[in-house]
């Protein structure tokens, strides 16, 4: 009986593992699958090129824009006020009545309060500010916003993640849930966690956002990538944040 009980328990454990393809205890940050030399580069703040953007972001945080406001005029010392903030984005905005990611939130502050033009996506200034804000949450677990309004867009994001797309007819899930650890064109497929953005990619020789990374993957499967900050992008970001919930934020991460 005891053996049968153990067998049943084992089967139940297998079923649970199948139900969620990447259970929490087997999740690996992309950090763990890269070479020790790149890991050392990320760990050492004097060697991590992402810290250049963090330093730029700090300058911008204290710079006065528009009608004599800097970010610091309202938010004060980012090391205190921004601690943990990046870990729960994308979040619901009750005024816009839609989910916003961190860069959209920063731009809203610019247009609503500083009354200056929004920064274009992937601009050095935006990447700097985003990196500086996210850096304040380094080491903290990703804790997606619990707002109920996010359930529907997050579910749409999950469907996008699992939908086959492009001329190669692949979904995100096919590689990042079913084949992580395998090699694709000489590169190890990571589990696709979002705990290090914006990230310094050696291939880009620069900093880039999660949206840039997603667009990169989409053109890889020869699909038409949605534009920056489109609803689909934010929905994907919402689902991906949920998928990586609890993992420690690494911003600014370094990736091959």
């Amino acid at each position: 009986m005891k053996a049968r009980g153990a067998a049943v328990a084992w089967l139940l454990a297998c079923a649970a593992a199948l139900a969620q393809t990447t259970p929490a205890n087997t999740r690996r940050s992309g950090f763990e699958t890269m070479s020790p030399r790149i890991q050392a580069m990320q760990r050492d703040d004097q060697q991590n090129p992402g810290m250049l953007w963090v330093a730029d972001g700090e300058v911008l945080w204290n710079k006065i824009f528009g009608i004599s406001f800097s970010c610091a005029s309202c938010h004060g010392d980012a090391r205190k006020s921004m601690r943990g903030v990046a870990a729960h984005y994308p979040d619901w905005d009750p005024i816009e009545k839609k989910p916003l990611d961190l860069t959209q939130r920063i731009n809203l502050c610019r247009t609503r309060h500083q009354q200056v033009l929004p920064l274009p996506p992937e601009s050095e200034e935006m990447l700097g500010l985003e990196a500086y804000v996210a850096y304040q949450s380094r080491g903290m677990p990703l804790t997606p916003s619990p707002a109920r309004e996010l359930d529907a867009p997050r579910e749409r994001g999950r469907r996008l993640y699992e939908q086959r797309i492009g001329q190669l007819n692949l979904s995100c899930s096919l590689c990042h849930d079913k084949l992580p650890g395998h090699v694709l064109a000489g590169a190890t497929i990571p589990q696709g966690h979002v705990n290090g953005y914006p990230t310094y990619r050696l291939e880009w020789q620069g900093m880039g956002s999660l949206q840039r990374r997603i667009r990169n993957c989409l053109s890889g499967v020869r699909a038409e990538p949605p534009p920056f900050n489109s609803d689909e992008m934010i929905e994907l970001e919402l689902y991906l944040a949920q998928r990586s919930a609890g993992m420690a934020l690494e911003t600014p991460s370094v990736r091959p």
Partner: protein
């Protein structure tokens, strides 16, 4: 904007070998790539880096187009006197940047 990161120890024992690490933001455009309009982007690289220890060159390097953006250089110097380490980067289009760090040797 703050565009370089330097790691040099503030204190050292006399005769100790210390590691210096430098990182600078620079596109290191090779001069071989095509831009969005199809035209070749002009070369824009750092050509020379030098570290001076109380005025004397203790390490220098020539850089070439194959070196990636935001070049990182690490090297060792023997700490033999208190003073200043000066780092200079020079390159195309009149690029020049100088940074310094002080070291106390006991």
């Amino acid at each position: 904007m703050a565009r370089s990161l330097i790691h040099a120890p503030a204190t050292a024992r006399k005769g100790e070998v210390v590691e210096i690490r430098t990182l600078i933001a620079h596109p290191m455009e090779t001069g071989y790539r095509a831009g969005a309009d199809g035209r070749t982007l002009p070369r824009d690289i750092i050509r020379r880096f030098a570290c001076r220890y109380n005025g004397e060159v203790v390490f220098s390097a020539d850089l070439y187009p194959a070196i990636s953006a935001n070049p990182y250089l690490a090297f060792s110097v023997v700490a033999d006197a208190s003073g200043t380490l000066t780092f200079t980067w020079e390159g195309d289009n009149g690029f020049a940047q100088t940074e310094s760090a002080t070291i106390t040797v006991s």
